[in-house]
Amino acid sequence: MPIKLVFLGRLEDLAGAAERAVDAAASLDDVLAGLEPELASALRGERIKLAVNGHVVAASAVSLADGDELAFLPPVSGG
């Protein structure tokens, strides 16, 4: 099963869609290696937070399995 990437906020414009399915990968580096360089660079930004299956995790702690959902969360603006 592929991994589902979710792009929030301005990252959606960069990625060209709110979601994208990519081939199964184990780590964040593996996922980013398969993306366009400009997009991968933006997703590595230090202010981008990550969530795997709805739980926020550190970039170094991302460990993916088939069918997982990996969300990229830029700085928020609510209220």
Partner: protein, 148 residues
């Protein structure tokens, strides 16, 4: 119900919501509320708030729970819109009911500062027919520090 926390995809009536909340707070001596709405002007035709379902509502519920734990409150109301909104439409309504006013004021402000600075929402606005994402303001993060 002490906490009423909702994420809405459609417009809501803040006066009716506040009246309903107040009706449940007979033991409160005071209720402080804040209503945020879409500003008119600046050529803004519409504003959109996006959310991420697995995180946004759970985060709002945790925020209400932490306000309840921090002050002596009878109840907390947090309603936040998602989706597209027009100028003058309500975006967010926060209310805190307490026996004493200072707890109500503080809890409402605490909730708003955290909604602004760390809740899972992303904002874009439409000007002259074109949408653009709005980056958070530094002051929104500064506002959070005083609650640390």
């Amino acid at each position: 119900m002490a906490c009423d926390v909702r994420l809405l995809e459609a417009p809501f009536d803040p006066a009716a919501e506040l009246a309903a909340f107040t009706a449940r707070q007979a033991e409160a001596g005071g209720i402080a509320s804040f209503l945020g709405q879409v500003r008119s002007g600046g050529g803004v035709e519409a504003l959109e708030r996006r959310h991420y379902a697995p995180l946004t509502l759970p985060g709002m519920a945790a925020l209400a729970a932490s306000a309840l734990a921090r002050w002596e409150l009878q109840g907390v109301l947090i309603i936040h819109r998602s989706g597209e909104m027009l100028p003058a439409e309500p975006i967010v309504l926060v209310a805190a009911a307490a026996r004493h006013r200072r707890d109500a004021f503080a809890a409402a402000e605490f909730a708003m500062d955290h909604l602004k600075g760390e809740s899972w929402f992303w904002k874009r606005e439409k000007v002259a027919g074109a949408w653009s994402w709005i980056e958070p303001r530094t002051v929104d993060f500064e506002d959070l520090k005083r609650w640390a």
